[in-house]
Subunit: 132 residues, 4 copies
């Protein structure tokens, strides 16, 4: 199963809605089950550097089928996956990337959000993921 | 002046509409006046390889403020800009990238379309550019 | 639909068999429907430079859902897709990459073969593709 | 001395067998004595992000002729090889990469395994290495 563009655009609309509630400006990326970019939006005034981070968060979440922040705990100095970020042309392993599941719980892609604190990034990504 | 996300999403919606009329599946990218990705959509079933090409067409059109096909004429063997594609981490210089202008004629970004023949790619990009 | 490892290994075994018949040494790569590497084999003595070429041929065939040689005709100087090879971190557009289809004709991945003449590369890839 | 494709495929088959025993899904890469990819398999459902990690683990193990986890101890903050991961287009220095030796103890390549905990990754790689 793979995410459709209609689903991806719904995810982005949900992320925009939540971002406005939190009064933050986000870059939002959606990848499909093959980790290929499917939809993207940069809210007006959102950080330019977050374009790449949002895309890398979405890819990272699909690469390992878990929230990016979970990987970040394991990639710290002394932890099991130290410096895993050097793989796959650069991972982003702090919060803001969340897998996307269909009603049956199958992973169909992932969303990545960047532009504010990692708490806000994750809150927006999580809200968007639940909109499917 | 810079394109807004609302304008970029309108450009993408116009490109989707034209693509459906032509019965083609496109990857569509919009960059802002700084050549940074602003919005993106991959229509269901569109080529995976066109994700990168659509983004590169949009960037190329804004990098030089002209239709990508114009640059392609100059990058042929023996011509003035032979192999300019090696710059900027890879240009795409065949048709499908078109600058986006506001009502005053100022360039505010660019659109890149990839997924069919270069004639269709350009037709969709041009239609989308005129929707602003 | 996505290729399984068992199918990918069958494709590689078929490519090895055909290569031995032709008395050539090949690098053989199989990617899935998301253009991600699924299986790979370098026959003893096959060119080292063909590792990357075989992988890029497989990816290119899936990126555009056609034989790589078809793209190569269009990427020549003066043709519609001149220098498309600069996209997607490097395409290979001469023969040897072939999409893989299941019984229903759905594309489930692609195979890329490199190590001999482009005629042999294509013959081996095509034979392997038909083994599914 | 260099690993043959037959040996590499035997290593991969052993890694698959051990992975099934442990009920894990692995990406498995084998490189030769020149650190060039020789064979690869992604088990059905294994993480997409582990394709690159498995290959990098195999290369890292051969680059320095030791288990990847040994290098990871030395690449921690304050240690002798801090951030060595920046070399060679990205190393992976946590467990899962193991050199491959022939009967005489000569190194003929390396295997890299990724897809589960580092303990499982190493256990599978080690089992596979001993199958030669």
């Amino acid at each position: 199963m793979n995410i459709t563009l209609a689903q991806a655009q719904k995810v982005i609309a949900a992320a925009e809605k939540k971002s406005k509630e939190l009064d933050v400006k986000m870059d939002i990326a959606v990848v499909d089950s093959g980790a290929n970019l499917t939809a993207f939006a940069r809210m007006d005034g959102a950080w330019l550097g977050s374009v790449d981070i949002a895309i890398k968060k979405a890819k990272t979440a699909r690469f390992f089928d878990m929230n990016t922040g979970e990987i970040g705990k394991l990639s710290q100095p002394g932890e099991a996956l130290f410096n895993i970020e050097h793989s796959n042309n650069g991972l982003i392993t702090f919060p803001g990337g969340v897998p996307l599941k269909n009603k049956s719980g199958e992973i169909i892609g992932a969303v990545g959000v960047s532009g504010s604190s990692v708490e806000n990034d994750h809150a927006v990504a999580n809200f968007a993921a639940e909109s499917i």
